[in-house]
Each structure stands twice: as C-alpha cells, then as structure tokens.
Symmetry: C2
Subunit: 325 residues, 2 copies
C-alpha cells in the first residue's frame, strides 16, 4: 500500500478495528472455538477498504465518519464471511489469506462454515442493535441484504465458480465474454462496494441524488478494482498479496488480461489466437490497465456533485490504479 493511501486509511482503520473487535465479543452462549474462528477471520490484518469507503461516503455527504460506524462494521463482517466461505475446499480451495492460513485450515471446515454463517447473522444483528433511527436501520439492512443475496455477492460467486469451466472460445466473441465477466464481477465484488457507499450516504441522511451518484462511483471503482485484482494475480507475488497468486492463470480461468489480449488479437484479425487460446498476456495486462484507468476517470467524474467533500474518495479511486497488493 502506498504511503499516501496508508495515511488516508489509517484513522478509519483504527476506528473500524476497535468497533469490529467490540462487535465480535460474544455472550456466554457462544462456543469459544467458534468465537475464536470469527475473531481470527474478522480481525486479520486487512486494508479495511470497504468500511473506509462507507465512512468516506458519509463524509462526502456532509456526515461524520462515526455516523456510519454500524454500517462500516456490518459491511466488513459480510466481507469477512464471504472470504471464509470463498476459501473453502468446495469453493476456491485456498490455504492462504492475508498472509495467514485460511480459517478452515486453522479451525477445520465445519467451524469455518459456521463462523461464516454466524458472521452474516451478526452483521444484520449489529445494524438492528446499533442504528438508532429505525427507518435508517431498515434501509441499511435492505441495502446490505440485497448486496449479499442471491442476485449480489452470492450469485456472483456461483457464476464465478462456473466460469472456471468456461473458455473464451465458448463465447460468440471476446467482447461477449468480457460482458459476461463484467456481469459476474458487478455482483461478486461490485454489489458490496455499491452497498458500502450507499450505506455511508444513508447513514449521513443523504438525498437520493447523492446516494445514486455514489452508487455509480462504486460500480466503476469496483470494476476497476477487479481488473487490477486480475492483473495482480499475474504480476504480484504470494508475499505481496498475502494469498496465492497465479491461481486463475494456472486454472485457465476467464480473467480480464486474458480476455483483453483476445479482444486485441481479434481486432488485429488474428482470429486464430481466439480458438487456440495462445494470446499475448503482456499485451492483455497492458490493455487491462488501460481499461481500469478509463473506468477510474469516469469514477472521478461521477463525484462532481460532492466537490471537495469527496476528496478522500478521489484519492481512493487513484489508489486502485497504483495498488500492488
């Protein structure tokens, strides 16, 4: 993480991690092993990008970061649960996350599944207990539940798993393959980013225009984030990311660099490369980076409404293009 971004995130991170730690203290009824697994997953070192976005969105709308604390905690709990379940042997089968053994490696598969299940319930419980105005609470819960549900996060993961069996050659064109990949990521990664900023705005009692503009920002931000994620899977080391890299490439999975290399080959009328899968990954990475840059430019534009109060969100958007982890 660059020093500039780290300085931006640090004050939010402190606030968020204190709140998360409080939220993950359970009453006597909770088995110790389950509580340990939940705390292991939630309190693992992380950038806390999503909860920071919640708070920054609240600030952009004239609220205080603290107003958005319940929403920030709930979002991070949902994110943590989704990582636990995504890493399971039946899903992405990952053994390393945030530089440490994944939850099922550390606590066993049953406890990992249950820790994820509990975290999802606790996220909604946290909002119900900690947002004082019921109307605001219901809106926040509705936003988060929709983002986490069958048409959001979970639906995206289902399609992402299916995508491991799809090859570019299965599509009419690389462009249609890219549209499919974008639709997966709009749900798997994008839906929660959109929920973050909308929930931040709702916590600050923002108007509909502001909620919608921030949602548009987060869609673009989320897609650029996923593209750089795919690029980092090719270019970064395990140590930099704290998780296994080159997994997608190794499995021949649809990724943005791969698709963009194929699109470029087709544009050059070099159609043989589409069916053979023999594409130039270096060119693909360059195209992917350039596409991310263009998305981030649009993301900046979507914040015009907010003026200087969205400064932190602008910095976060630029960070996507620079990130190395």
């Amino acid at each position: 993480m660059s020093l500039v971004i780290d300085a931006q995130l640090a004050p939010f991170r402190t606030l968020i991690e204190e709140s998360l730690s409080d939220a993950c203290r359970f009453a006597d009824g909770c088995p110790v092993r389950l509580a340990d697994a939940i705390r292991y997953a939630v309190l693992a070192p992380g950038k806390r990008l999503r909860p920071a976005l919640v708070m920054m969105a609240a600030e952009a709308c004239g609220g205080a970061a603290g107003d958005a604390r319940p929403a920030a905690v709930a979002v991070e709990m949902i994110h943590a649960y989704s990582l636990i379940h995504d890493d399971l042997p039946a899903m992405d089968d990952d053994d390393l996350r945030r530089g440490r053994p994944t939850t099922h490696i550390q606590f066993g598969e049953a406890t990992a599944i249950l820790a994820g299940d509990a975290l999802q319930a606790e996220a909604f419980s946290h909002l119900a207990r900690n947002v004082s105005d019921p109307g605001t609470a219901v809106r926040l819960i509705g936003e988060l539940a929709a983002a986490a549900g069958a048409c959001g996060l979970v639906g995206g993961q289902e399609d992402d798993l299916a995508a491991e069996k799809i090859r570019i050659a299965d599509f009419r064109s690389p462009l249609s393959a890219r549209k499919h990949l974008e639709s997966i990521h709009r749900r798997k990664t994008g839906a929660l980013f959109v929920a973050c900023v909308r929930m931040g705005a709702i916590s600050a009692h923002a108007g509909l225009d502001e909620v919608e503009a921030l949602g548009r920002f987060a869609e673009l931000f989320g897609l650029a984030f996923q593209i750089t994620d795919d690029v980092l899977d090719f270019t970064a080391t395990d140590e930099q990311l704290g998780k296994r890299t080159q997994k997608d490439a190794g499995r021949g999975k649809l990724t943005f660099p791969h698709l963009m290399a194929a699109e470029n080959s087709v544009a050059k009328e070099d159609s043989s490369s589409l069916s053979s899968g023999d594409v130039d990954f270096q060119a693909g990475i360059a195209f992917a980076r350039s596409h991310a840059t263009s998305l981030i430019q649009d993301a900046h534009d979507s914040l015009k409404l907010f003026g200087a109060s969205a400064d932190r969100l602008h910095i976060m958007a630029d960070y996507i293009l620079e990130r190395t982890s």
Copy 2:
C-alpha cells in the same frame, strides 16, 4: 403427522408455501442453478412447523395470521438454510432430507453452501422489504439475527458437532451431561422456536408480557421437540422421517435417551453402567418420553395469559408428544 395436526397446519401451510414461492423468485441477476437449489431446499415438502408457530403466536396475541407472513417466510428461510449447511459433508454429512437427496447431493457442495448463504441474506432482505412499519421491522430482524447468530442456531450447531466427540463419562455426572446437552439444544433448536413465537407476537404488536410468555412456551416446546427428535432417531424408520435414522446412536453421540438411561442407572446406584456406557436404551426412551411430557405440561401452563386465543398452540404442544415424524 396425525390428522388433527395436519388439519391445524394445512391452512397455514398453504399461505406459507405461496409466500415462500413468491419470495424465492429472483431477478435476472441470480444464476439459474443457484435459484434452482434455493427453491429445491425451501420448497421441499415440509410440515412448516416454524412458520405456523409464527402465525399461531400472532393469533394468540389477537393479530391475524397474515400480519405475521413476512416473519413466517423469513423464519422458514433461515431454517432451510440451516438444514442445507447442517447436511454438508463437513458437518453432519447427510444424503437424505425430507425424503429426497440433500441439496449438496443434488447440486454439488459449492452451490449448496452458496444456496444456504443466499437464503440467510434473503431472509433479512424479505423482512426489510415486506414489513411496513420500520420499528416493527427492526425488532423482527433483531430477533431473527440474534437467534440465527453465534450465540443461537450457529453456536448450537458448533457445540453439537463437538458433542460427537464427548462421552457421558467425560462429565462429572449424567445430570451435568444432560445440562450440557440441554444448553446445546436451547441454541441449536430452541433459539429459532423462541424467535418464531416472539416474532409472531411482535408482528401482532403484542405487549412485552405476551412476548415473554410465548418465549417461555417456545423454550419448553423446543426442548420437548428435541427430546422426541432423539427418541425418533432410535425408534422411527428412514421412510417415516424422510432422513437417515439411528445415526446418532451409531456414532455414540450424546442423546437424551442415552443420558436418561445413565441418570437412572446412577439413581439405582449402578454406577458401573456410567463408565462402561452399557445402558438400557429402552428405559432411556421411556424416561425421555416422560420428561418431554412434563415439559409440555409446563408449556401449556405458560399459555394461561392467552385463554382460548392460544388453542392452536396448545394443540401444537400436544402434537410434540404424539409425533412419529
């Protein structure tokens, strides 16, 4: 199911199944396979005991069954998700549920995990979208989330899995073992039953006294339900229950008949049977049935406040003692 109970449940079941079917129609963003798995699990033939309890509790408090429909749907979604995850290979590893292959057998493990995850989110989404008064919605969500969370349903399942490795001889006495088993079931089964009746009461805008009395009823009802479940695991056939029986006995797991036989042996100063595990199961089953009868008597008593408006709940309580599936 007896004809009397079937007649009691039938009108609720129709209402509930229509509502569940509506609630499990997802927008275009939801992958077809995921939606199919969700509908397979939720719309499987079932008694719909929990949502019926929600509606009967609303009626006991002077409300209409229809007032409690969102709560009833949300409760059944949580129940369905918990069954999907409990049946997974890493958990209870069951291949049969409600007379059909379990969700992971039918759709694969990854989709089963995701269907459960989506259902949990959809339960809260349903309440947020369908309860018109925000104050009531937040209370309902808070009740359900607490029951489903780390100190409720999920915590109970974690301890229940751990209980497979515990033997009666690990406890100071059979009575302390029974207290432990009761504490597991208070969370694994009881918490959701309690949430059912409390949510029914809240949907009918009941007073605190009514909410608390119904909660007490459901605690007793839930424990009696679990005891008869353990008895049925010994006495019923796979066909009667629509799931594998004699699994607990086969694994030497702590169950009520087992514990009660051991308590009786100790009472007769026949302490050798405690350490050897050589207990009389037929006697244990008789003791377990007698204990369930006493709990149900207390459950009836806890409904005094409601007079004739709780008639259906009284009938449900008696059903627990007669059930064969």
